[in-house]
Symmetry: C2
Subunit: 299 residues, 2 copies
């Protein structure tokens, strides 16, 4: 397993997600076309598909039903994409561009953007629960439950409300606050994606706890690297304007730590993610490469 293999696998998963989303969003009804177009804009041709990759890579550690793996990967990506659509709204981050394209509210209007996010969230749970059989229903119900918790008031949405509160507060957010915001806002979904394989494969709670720990470290590393890139990256590499966090007075790990300590912390998180994978030995190489990729990427 080298970096080329990893990148090929990442591209393969991204391609699979893209095709599956196209199928899931193939509705032809003219009267709801605005909604479907919004959902396509929000989800197609998007991002690195890190969360679906984590589902696939963690599932490869166990004996897993491919249909369940695929549905779970897709469902998590739908939740992620819906959160971006709502985050971009004028009342939230007020972003007009994402991945070099107009955001959904900018392209389709605010009302359609709200509904696009709502429908993507419902689609996530529709996909993950589809084709239930006596053999897979218990796992499906568990996946739905864990995804809902990772997405909702104790996970992603909780992180988002804390982030908004931190932005409006007069005092700068403490290091501990920022850690907690990221742990919920982006970490919960990444941690769920990382342990999804253990749930799908019916692995014991040790395996699940190890993958959860890996996901927590990875999620925080991902956010920290994002913050670092915002400070030191170039617009060409990023496909967006750097320095936006600082300009908006947003509390980030880098503003709380300073650049040098932030780099050290990133190394620690990388080490922590690798440490969590030790029980899986060689088989977890794909997840190790992902940790490396997240910490070393330039965009």
């Amino acid at each position: 397993m080298n970096e080329d293999n990893f990148k090929a696998e990442l591209a393969k998963v991204a391609n699979k997600v893209e095709n599956s989303l196209k199928v899931a969003l193939n509705d032809q009804d003219q009267s709801t076309l605005e909604l479907i177009e919004g959902m396509r804009l929000a989800s197609l041709d998007g991002g690195k598909r890190i969360r679906p990759f984590l589902v696939h890579a963690s599932s490869a550690l166990f004996s897993s039903d491919p249909q369940l793996v695929e549905a779970t990967a897709l469902a998590i990506e739908c939740i992620h994409c819906y959160s971006l659509v709502h985050d971009d709204l004028p009342s939230m981050d007020n972003d007009e561009l994402r991945r070099g394209r107009p955001t959904v509210w900018k392209a389709k209007g605010e009302a359609t953007a709200v509904l696009t996010g709502d429908a993507l969230q419902a689609l996530a749970f529709e996909l993950i629960s589809a084709n239930a059989t006596p053999a897979n229903a218990l796992i499906k119900a568990q996946l739905v439950n864990e995804l809902a918790k990772a997405a909702g008031k104790t996970g992603m949405v909780a992180g988002q409300i804390r982030d908004l509160a931190a932005e409006q507060a007069t005092d700068p957010a403490s290091f501990a606050d920022v850690i907690q915001i990221h742990a919920q806002k982006t970490g919960a979904l990444i941690a769920f994606a990382s342990q999804a394989g253990a749930i799908i494969g019916g692995a014991d709670h040790h395996a699940r706890a190890a993958l959860n720990l890996y996901g927590e470290k990875l999620g925080l590393a991902f956010q920290l690297k994002d913050d670092l890139l915002d400070v030191v990256g170039t617009a060409t590499d990023l496909g967006k304007t750097p320095g936006k966090d600082e300009a908006s007075g947003k509390a980030t790990l880098v503003s709380a730590l300073g650049i040098e300590k932030a780099h050290t912390f990133l190394e620690n998180l990388h080490d922590g993610a690798l440490y969590a994978l030790e029980p899986f030995g060689e088989r977890a190489e794909m997840l190790r490469q992902m940790a490396r990729f997240v910490c070393k990427r330039q965009n």
Copy 2:
């Protein structure tokens, strides 16, 4: 079974929903209090709880696990409440009052209102999938799947996007268009609630189809009665300003039919709902009373 029994049962279910929502929204974390308060404002002390009642009443026709009935009733109510929060947003219906209280965006700001709705949707799927066992997991997965479809791009959200399009169109919406909007926007969730008992009880597809038909008629009757009350009701009875639909140029069944034909259509829907219940004989009396209640209510 008389009207008093029905009203007592409706109050009993409403009370149960209220208590269960309080438990589900009992989070004490100060840092996410804004979110939890938004969710409480959106869901507590609210409405007639018609959808939960339908879950309970349809479940009473079969042998049903009470925990599943309760979770499903609660989940549907969470979806309904989230949809109201998002519908009220300035970019949607721009409503400042609901049930005589400030709407969530008015009380808490737009960003919190968006997140409140998002978290309520996730909570619905969290509740319905909780405590899965080998014995109930298949039904839980089916309930999740049907609820997601009723809520998402082929159900409630689809109806909402069509409604927005109809409002923005220069030509008034046709009768068929308005029917289709209501069938998705409010009908899909009511139809799901009505057939939930058949899913929970593992009934055959005839029973499910009959209850679905009942739900479709009831959902449309509910909307038509709402529209009629908006035209002929008083502010005291309604707890909101009547005449709002007409003032906003909103396409309603009443504007498409005229008041007299609308009354006849309501009678037809009532008859259709009762007809759908015939296979269940006396046992469906509670659902019959609900149809009567929906069509005769003054608020």
